[in-house]
Amino acid sequence: MEEFLKATLLIVFFLVFSFIASKLFVKREKESFLYLLGVTGEPFVIMGIFLSFLLEKVFPPGKALEIFAPFLIVIIAFIGFLYASNFVVKYIKGLEIKNLLYVFFFFVLSYYGAILTLEEGLKAFFGGYTIVVKDLRVLALSVTLFSPFFIYTEKKESRKKKELSLTLFISYFSSFFAIIFFGLFFYREKVIRIDTLSVRLSFLLFGIILLLSVGLFSLLSSKLKREEVLTLSIGILAIAGGMAVFTATSIITVAAVLSFLYVNMPYRIKEFKLIPHLMMFEKPVFILLLLLTPMFLFKIEGAQIFKIGILLVFIRFFLRAVFMLFLKIFNRRISFAALLPYGPLPLAIAVSYFFIVGRESFIVMGSLIISQLIGDFLSTVYFYYSGKGEVVEK
């Protein structure tokens, strides 16, 4: 209990400290570098790394995670749900075959490009580390992800709507595919823990009821009050997250599928109230994720994850630049600044991965945290020094 008190003290201290730091950053002028850092959530990742280091001193290994696991599960489910809520098919601009082909190309280029370059890159630049296949797959998938929460756009006067809409289109589809593929990859990776017929049947029934609830919820949510919608959403996400952990499948994928079904139910979109309500909690949830995820960081040898993380950042930047060049061939442009930020999805995938394979996921998690920290920092630097942009908080 003494350990619990110390850990709680540390977390609250760091949380408040991060809030203050973020407030100070965001208070700066919109064009300033610190403002950009504040918006990307950089203070929280840095605080999270300090925090995880201190928590490791206080707690025996794995204990901190045990306490915070339910919170993380709900947070990951929330991020998956919120992200996929953008995916209202009939309102997606630019839904045409040509654009889908661009997405397909981007996805294949990023995924296979990362698989090919990651291991070779490590051997060439860092003296060789071998990554197991499933880790490699997750790391490669993270390269296909976009930040759904912060969209970098060019200044209003020079903003080209067509460019941005293609960027958004690719970002929605590519990230959605990545989340679905991630779930499919690992659904059969591990032996499913359901072992008796009655349990299987009851969980099948559960699946049907959950889908039914989501459907009805989507129809009724326009009639509910804000706090009621929120309560039901947390409930559904907690059930979905708990179930995902139980069946050793991806939390973020389950939540994203539910969200996709929810937003694509046939009903009048004007009454659609859930997403704006949930968006209010987007930042606190992102902050908690950034603050809690680095808890995994010091569980393994730091040098390895640091090297993988750095390499991942450069592979990501490189592949996106290649994609831009590819688009140029077809005379299409895309906002490079909008391609860069990491956002919470890679971390959410990493934590989902933890709940599938357990401690074996630490290399992936550590690497993604490092790449998030460095990648978002570099994209902020790029954005700032390119001198032509502003951050629009979505």
């Binding site: 209990m1 003494e2 619990f4 008190l5 709680t8 003290l9 977390i11 609250v12 949380l15 408040v16 809030f19 203050i20 973020s22 407030k23 045990e66 696991a69 339910p70 599960i73 709900v74 823990r193 072992d195 008796t196 009655s198 349990v199 009851s202 029934l205 559960f206 009821i209 039914l212 609830s213 009805l216 919820f217 009724l220 009639k223 509910l224 009050k225 804000r226 706090e227 009621e228 929120l230 309560t231 039901l232 947390i234 409930g235 559904i236 907690a238 059930i239 979905a240 997250g241 708990g242 179930m243 995902a244 952990v245 139980f246 909690f281 930042k283 606190p284 902050i287 908690l288 709940f355």
Partner: protein, 435 residues
């Protein structure tokens, strides 16, 4: 309706396959939390349709899902959710304090203290006397040695009288928030609830010392007890002021992610409580009152963040409270439990009425306010655990009878209080029934 029935059916099915044994711990806890939130919410909504408070619906859901009926929330589940429960209780207590207007409280201090005095005195004497007879002639003779029956009866009657004076601040605040009530009755009940907490803590400490002296020949009423108690209350007040100051400073200078901060703060308070066992309810109430009364700019942000969090918190807290109620005990001692509830209700009415008549209170205070003091929960259960520990022979029976009474009080208390608020015309009736 369909969703709620499907989920409850699913919950029943799950109980048959005892999923808890196969879910990994973190998955199980998260799953349970989700199940509680959805099923309790839907049952709460249905209960509104039949004009009973949502929290009664939450409690009933807890009882049904709990270890004594469906066993979906197992004893281990209740234990694992203990921390979340403490966090919820901290937030409820903070909001109870935040609702207090100290200026108004100061104006009404005379009438409030008179009502508290009569409530406590009459409930203590009335319930104590009836249970003195019951313990001496019916309950204790088969259990304790003949020579000890009288002394134990007196000791237990003192403790039973004290238990009868306790009430549940969380129930009061939940009903007030649920109904959006405002007015004289609401303010009086809330103020008495908070102030009475201090009186009850003092009374319980004194009663324990006296009962131990009478029944066990140890404990005694010496000055050290007063000193210790005084120190405990002072420490609780100081902690409360410190938390309140933190809260106010945060709202004043940062004022971002307020809900997250409130949850983090409650987490911290619970962690301190687990480590140091101070009167954290009192501290939280003082913190809430201090932050909102001495730092006016805090009030609005504080209330809006509390409002945002209140529904899931009430659901979790009252469902777990329901699941924790031991129904097997109730089956055994239901007659004594019922008697306890009826006498306590009568004495609470008499005490409140007398106090209100002396201080010339309004009709709503004289005839309706007593209904706000029937609910009993956390604090009372805490007292009973201490009694059982101090009196291994016989203390268990006292605890079981009172727990049986708590089950009834907790189910019917909120219904009564909501009815009183509606009758006094202080509710906003802004709850929409849409499922």
């Amino acid at each position: 309706m369909i969703v709620s029935i499907s989920l409850i059916l699913f919950a029943i099915l799950l109980s048959k396959v005892s999923f808890q044994s196969i879910l990994p711990p973190s998955g199980e806890l998260t799953f349970l939390l989700g199940l509680i939130l959805i099923v309790s919410f839907l049952v709460g909504k249905l209960s509104l349709k039949i004009k009973i408070p949502m929290i009664t619906g939450f409690l009933l859901t807890g009882i049904f899902l709990g270890p004594y009926i469906l066993n979906i929330i197992t004893r281990e589940g209740v234990k694992s959710l203990g921390l979340i429960n403490e966090i919820a209780l901290s937030i409820i207590a903070l909001s109870a304090g935040g609702e207090l207007d100290l200026k108004e409280l100061a104006k009404k201090m005379g009438s409030l203290s008179t009502i508290i005095l009569f409530q406590v005195f009459i409930a203590f004497i009335g319930v104590g006397f009836v249970f003195l007879l019951l313990f001496k002639f019916i309950i204790l003779p088969p259990i304790v040695k003949e020579s000890d029956v009288t002394s134990f009866s007196i000791a237990f009657a003192i403790l039973m009288g004290t238990i009868a004076t306790a009430k549940s601040p969380s129930t009061t605040i939940a009903i007030i928030m649920e109904t959006g009530s405002e007015g004289n009755l609401t303010d009086t009940v809330l103020a008495i609830t908070v102030l009475k907490d201090v009186v009850i803590i003092v009374l319980f400490t004194l009663s324990m010392a006296l009962a131990s002296e009478i029944a066990l020949g140890r404990g005694g009423l010496d000055l050290f007890i007063f000193y210790e108690l005084f120190l405990e209350i002072i420490v609780a007040i100081l902690i409360g002021l410190f938390i309140g100051l933190l809260l106010a400073l945060y709202y004043k200078f940062v004022n971002r992610y307020n809900l997250l901060f409130l949850i983090a703060l409650s987490f911290l308070i619970s962690a301190f409580y687990f480590q140091f066992h101070f009167h954290f309810l009192l501290s939280c109430m003082i913190a809430g009152a201090f932050a909102t009364n001495f730092f006016k700019e805090t009030r609005e942000s504080f209330h809006s963040s509390i409002k945002e969090a209140s529904l899931p918190i009430f659901i979790i807290f009252f469902t777990i409270t329901g699941a924790d109620l031991n129904l097997s005990i109730f089956k055994k001692y239901w007659i004594f439990a019922l008697l306890y509830v009826l006498i306590r209700a009568l004495m609470t009415f008499l005490g409140t009425y007398t106090g209100a008549v002396i201080k010339k209170g309004g009709k709503e205070i004289k005839y309706l306010s007593w209904l706000g003091f029937l609910g009993q929960a956390g604090l009372t259960i805490g007292f009973l655990t201490i009694i059982e520990r101090q009196f291994p022979s016989g203390g268990g029976i006292l605890k079981d009878i009172a727990l049986g009474g708590i089950i009834l009080n907790q189910i019917f208390g909120p219904i009564g209080f909501k009815w009183a608020l509606v009758k006094a015309g202080e509710t906003k009736e802004k709850i929409s029934v849409s499922i």
